[in-house]
């Protein structure tokens, strides 16, 4: 991903060469994860007795990370935009 970004930024690779294929792949991105997600059932037994605690921690950490990240970025972006506007 980083190499492709550098190639695009330096102009070595013109955008129109990759734009079509990238649209196709990214439109179906969700579908591409399906077999991997189905694969979780094959290792689910590793979770054992702690399943409920682990799911609780994961769920709560989802809220913690998403909200702190989102609010921090929003606050700083708005502060910057406020200064300019």
């Amino acid at each position: 991903m980083i190499i492709l970004l550098l190639l695009l930024l330096t102009g070595i690779l013109p955008l129109n060469l990759v734009e079509k294929i990238s649209d196709v792949l990214l439109t179906h991105l969700t579908f591409l994860f399906l077999p991997t997600v189905v694969g979780i059932i094959t290792v689910a037994h590793l979770l054992g007795d702690n399943l409920i605690w682990l799911m609780l921690i994961l769920g709560a950490s989802l809220v913690v990370v998403m909200v702190t990240t989102g609010l921090t970025v929003q606050w700083l972006v708005r502060k910057r935009e406020g200064k300019e506007g």
């Binding site: 955008l15 991105l29 990240t69």
Partner: protein
Amino acid sequence: MLDYINTPIFGVGVSILAFTISSYIARRTKIMLLNPLLVAMLIIVGILMIFDIDYQTYNLGGQMITFFLGPATVVLAVPLYKQRALLRGNLIPILVGIVVGSAAGILFVVLAGKILGLDRLLIASLVPRSTTTPIAMEISTLLDGNPALTAIFVSVMGISGYMFGEKLLKLFGVVHPIAKGIGIGTTSHAVGTAKAMELGEVEGAMSSLAIGVAGIVTVMMVPGVLWLLNII
């Protein structure tokens, strides 16, 4: 009929069929819990169980779909490139947000795990849950965790972020597209990014960016996390 099951046609076919049905259900009902990825997974798991087909057989075709995740990850650079002006203008807010969010998440899982009395192995395996799978498994090894467990946690974070991320951000008043994208990517890596792509071009690009940055930031926190795991 039975002969087809042992060929890749089965895995590919059943995946397309399940995803078509689940997408149709999602479009018709618009119920958040019935998201296409989750419903398609349940359909496939159901089919495998009813007909007593093992995962390896399904995965003959499944791995052909998974293969395209590689190139799909690479072309995440394209939306990012298109949004480069926005990235350049907001570099500091984006970086600070990812560092703060990643650190808050790691502190939370270590402390919560300790309070709930989980093994060090489980806690260490939880730490990299928000990064993309290859990076997460590497970090898990560095922390003496279990990479297979970490891979499960990574998937759970991805799917739950895909399902609830949008609602969660709205609930807490995060409405700026840059903030939404970075929040989703930092929390739920590439699976979340699939949702961010659905929300909009800016959200998708920012989420793609956050996958890589959150991974690097988390790797850099490894020495600190090791110290934390040892003192508590």
